[in-house]
């Protein structure tokens, strides 16, 4: 099962709408509630990051019988030092992002804590690629 979404940088009103749609899809597939929560928390943080930092981005979601794989690609400033960005408290967010309740330097660690596998790569001046994989563990879903 395959879904693709476009994300517009700076459109704070829409931030979270993709995560919301993915949550509805996972619920319909009867995925375990704790896996859904971890997945959408990680995705929501990543989606907010695109809105907050990038010009635009895409989110590609692939749901398989045993796992969900999410690929987020954005065109934006990129992350010069991913290790530094993973540190709790480090943030380059604008005041506007902070007013939304984000930008405290917790997003990437939240994503890590809620993903079974997380891969982040980035090119400064071009953009960032984030891959999140979560497994459904003992409860595979039926995609019929």
């Amino acid at each position: 099962m395959f879904f693709e979404y476009s994300i517009e940088g700076g459109n704070f009103a829409q931030a979270g709408s993709t995560s919301s749609q993915v949550k509805k899809n996972l619920k319909q597939l009867n995925v375990d509630g704790s896996v859904i929560k971890r997945t959408v928390v990680a995705l929501y943080e990543a989606e907010v990051n695109i809105v907050a930092h990038a010009f635009r981005g895409t989110i590609i979601v692939e749901i398989m019988e045993d796992k969900i794989h999410i690929l987020l690609n954005d065109e934006g400033p990129g992350i010069p030092d991913i290790g530094k960005a993973m540190e709790i408290g480090f943030s380059t967010a604008s005041p506007e992002v902070r007013e939304m309740g984000f930008g405290a330097g917790m997003g990437l660690s939240n994503m890590k804590n809620n993903s079974d596998e997380l891969h982040i790569s980035s090119k400064v001046g071009q953009g960032t690629r984030v891959e999140i994989t979560n497994y459904f563990q003992a409860k595979p879903v039926s995609l019929q």
Binding site: F12, A13, A15, G16, S19, S20, K23, G33, K37, V40, V41, Y44, E45, V48, E99, M100, G101, F102, A104, M106, G107, N110, N113
Partner: protein, 130 residues
């Protein structure tokens, strides 16, 4: 609560509070979910930082916040939070109401400050997350 010995007579983990009791304690008003007043919460968390809220794993969580925007409702949706209290009677937008109703999230406003709301609910026995 035992008023003679001032000690909590039930274990904190056994304590639950109905949403309608929350509303009554904080002089609140239902914006959405009035029909869900019989639902219960077990713990509360007060924060304006949504990334911090997203770290909480507790179930039946009541979110108290002064951050009144769409992202507060989105955060509740992602975190399976059933009820959000907005402090200081701030205006809840139509978009927030629509999102809350779509996701069965009860929204309450209170005229009190976040500090006072937290104090009242804590005093009445509602447990903190940390």
């Amino acid at each position: 609560m035992c008023y003679l010995c001032s000690e909590i007579s039930v274990k904190p983990e056994d304590f639950i509070m109905k949403i309608k009791e929350v509303v009554s304690l904080i002089d609140g008003a239902f914006i959405t979910g009035k029909h869900r007043g019989e639902q219960s919460v077990e713990v509360a968390f007060a924060s304006d930082l949504m990334s911090d809220v997203l770290t909480i794993k507790s179930e039946n969580l009541l979110l108290l916040t002064g951050l009144v925007n769409v992202q507060a409702i989105r955060t509740a949706e992602m975190s399976d939070i059933c009820c959000v209290v907005f402090a200081r009677n701030k205006n809840v937008s139509e978009e927030m109401v629509r999102l809350a109703e779509e996701n069965d999230i009860t929204v309450i406003t209170s005229p009190y400050s976040l500090f006072r709301i937290s104090g009242l609910l804590y005093q009445a026995g509602l447990a903190p997350v940390y």
